[in-house]
């Protein structure tokens, strides 16, 4: 009797043991299935070795990931642009070599977390970072950075910062040094202005000599000198225009003499000047303006703008074409004046549109230059297109605080130049 009881108890215990074992097994397998899909194929192996396998695999991946992280960090560290990482309280968590160099942060040590402002006292950068955090959108700023080390002598760096939002209110910042670009473009402009200046003096004396010769010579020499004189005049004009643009660009305000101008009057007086050209092609001007608009501007400069633009329009209009000039203003709202000049020509080529305001840019050479044509005495383009006309127009409009855009008119297909000027 006790023997049966013993057997019964034992089998009950063993039963319990196997049932528990089975349960643990299932739980472990479930967990393994959750971790990776490989274990399903190796289901025949004991669970314990499967668990061991899985743990070592996880360790391996972790090491790999850490290695990858290190590589990325090393790459960032030696990257040619600066990088800053800021936490939610604007503390600097990490920065790379280039950033330390650009912002002269010698006191930064990896591992210590301090406010960015303790290293870099820059109001603009701080604002941009705050804006990025608030709007959760990338912000790009360019600003003059004054290094804390430079004593007395002022050598700011033009830096460009791209701030972008990261998870958990963190912000990352890329820094680029724009200073070399600024210096390069400055020295290029200086060199060109200097060259233009140096060219002007000898050109003036050449034209003087040619003028003197002109009266003393007989044909055919006389006509040769006349040609020379014309070409020299053109070169002088080119050089003068170049100097004008450079001056306007350097200090726009000082070059302007403001006075009150009636725009309608100015447009018609410019058209009057171009009458001979217009009559040749029988081109007509259609003026559309509702009221008599007055604005504050430099009369001579604005006349130059209109002459340039209308001259272009006449050149590109077909015989008996029409040029449409519209003047609009919404004085109470924006205080701006809009002038649209639309010709009836074939418009700008799409490839030229982005470049037409660049200095010395010329559209399709077959249209504007006829130098290869030997029957023509001139070597420069006959229509006087030096490639500076629109550049000078743009500089003058910019100096007035306005803007000019070029496009093709959607209906007529002709060139459409739109000028926006502030009234005061």
């Amino acid at each position: 009797m006790p023997f049966i009881q013993f057997i019964l108890g034992l089998s009950l215990g063993v039963g319990f043991f196997f049932w528990k074992q089975y349960q643990t097994d299932r739980q472990l397998r479930g967990m393994l299935d959750f971790l990776s899909d490989e274990t399903a194929e190796l289901a025949s192996l004991p669970v314990l070795s499967l668990v061991r396998r899985e743990v070592s695999r996880i360790f391996q991946t972790r090491e790999q990931l850490q290695l990858q992280l290190q590589t990325w960090q090393q790459i960032l560290e030696i990257a040619p642009i600066g990088y800053l990482l800021l936490d939610e309280d604007n503390q600097l968590i990490w920065c790379n070599q280039k950033a330390r160099e650009l912002l002269t942060m010698d006191s930064w040590r990896s591992g210590t977390v301090r406010l960015l402002l303790e290293f870099v006292l820059s109001y603009e950068l701080d604002r941009a970072i705050e804006r990025t955090r608030k709007s959760q959108q990338t912000q790009v700023i360019e600003w003059q950075f004054y290094s804390p080390k430079t004593n007395g002598k002022r050598t700011p760096l033009l830096l460009k910062a791209t701030c972008f939002p990261l998870p958990q209110q963190e912000v990352g910042v890329f820094l680029e040094n724009q200073q070399p670009l600024v210096e390069l473009s400055q020295s290029r402009h200086r060199a060109k202005a200097y060259l233009a200046h140096e060219l002007r003096t000898p050109l003036t004396s050449i034209s003087l000599v040619a003028e003197t010769l002109q009266s003393r010579l007989q044909n055919p020499e006389r006509s040769w000198v006349e040609r020379m004189l014309k070409e020299t005049q053109r070169l002088i004009e080119l050089v003068q225009n170049w100097l004008d643009i450079s001056r306007l660009q350097e200090n726009p305000q000082e070059q302007l003499q403001y006075q009150s101008i009636k725009i309608e009057e100015l447009i018609f007086s410019a058209w009057e000047t171009l009458q001979p050209l217009a009559q040749q092609k029988e081109v007509e001007l259609n003026y559309f303006g509702h009221e008599c608009v007055e604005l504050e501007a430099d009369r001579d400069r604005l006349t130059q703008v209109l002459l340039n633009l209308l001259d272009n329009s006449i050149k590109h209009s077909p015989v008996r074409g029409k040029i449409r000039v519209e003047v609009e203003t919404d004085r109470p709202k924006t205080g701006e004046l809009t002038i649209n000049i639309i010709d009836s020509g074939s418009g700008f080529a799409a490839a030229d549109l982005p470049h037409i305001f660049q200095r010395l840019y010329r559209g399709d050479p077959s249209r504007t230059r006829q130098s290869s044509d030997l029957s023509h005495p001139e070597t420069l383009p006959r229509d006087g297109g030096s490639g500076l006309g629109l550049a000078i127009v743009q500089q003058i409009i910019k100096a007035h605080g306005g803007s000019i855009t070029a496009q093709n008119h959607p209906e007529t297909g002709g060139a459409w130049l739109k000028i926006v000027l502030p009234l005061e």
Partner: protein, 215 residues
Amino acid sequence: MLERTTYFQKCLRRLKQDVLRMGALVEDSFRLSHQCLFAGKLELAQEFQSREKRIDQYYRQIEEECATILTLQAPVAKELRILSAYMQLVRDLERIGDYAQNLTEMAVKLFNYPPHPCMKEIEEMSDFAQGMLRKSLKALGELDGTAGETIKHLDDEVDNAYTKIYQTLAQQRNIQGAVEPILLLALAIRDLERMADHATNIAQRVSYIVNGHRD
């Protein structure tokens, strides 16, 4: 990696950030006034009204924050020194901002007169004062206790420059036309000298925070 930051530490950090922000803004104002005065960029003068307001806002906000922390947290030792120094320091910063605004107003008036031969020296003086402000703000950021001494020496140089330029202006005899430009320049160097003084004060307050005694 990070030690646990208490609420108190967090408050202090935010306060420090605001003080440094105000410092950056004031330094920027000083720089603008310099460009206004010596590079003839008068268009910058228009910005000053809104700047002045923002500086004032920081000033009041920081002072209030300091008072709140003092009463609610009852800090001791270094933290107490930090708070009392901040309260004084924002006053110095606000004054420098005011002087910068004065300088731009003078620049607008001076623009009508031909440049005075002293301009070069005054520009150097302004550069010097700006360098001092930058150094003392850097000391504040890094809590560098030694800066007070160095900046005091620099202040002596600004004082010397002031005396020298004052003499030149005062002893001028061949005056033609109005005396306004000379008056304005004398006021300008006075302002610059005061700005340098306030910058010195800031550095000395930093020394006080770190060392616990005034030199």
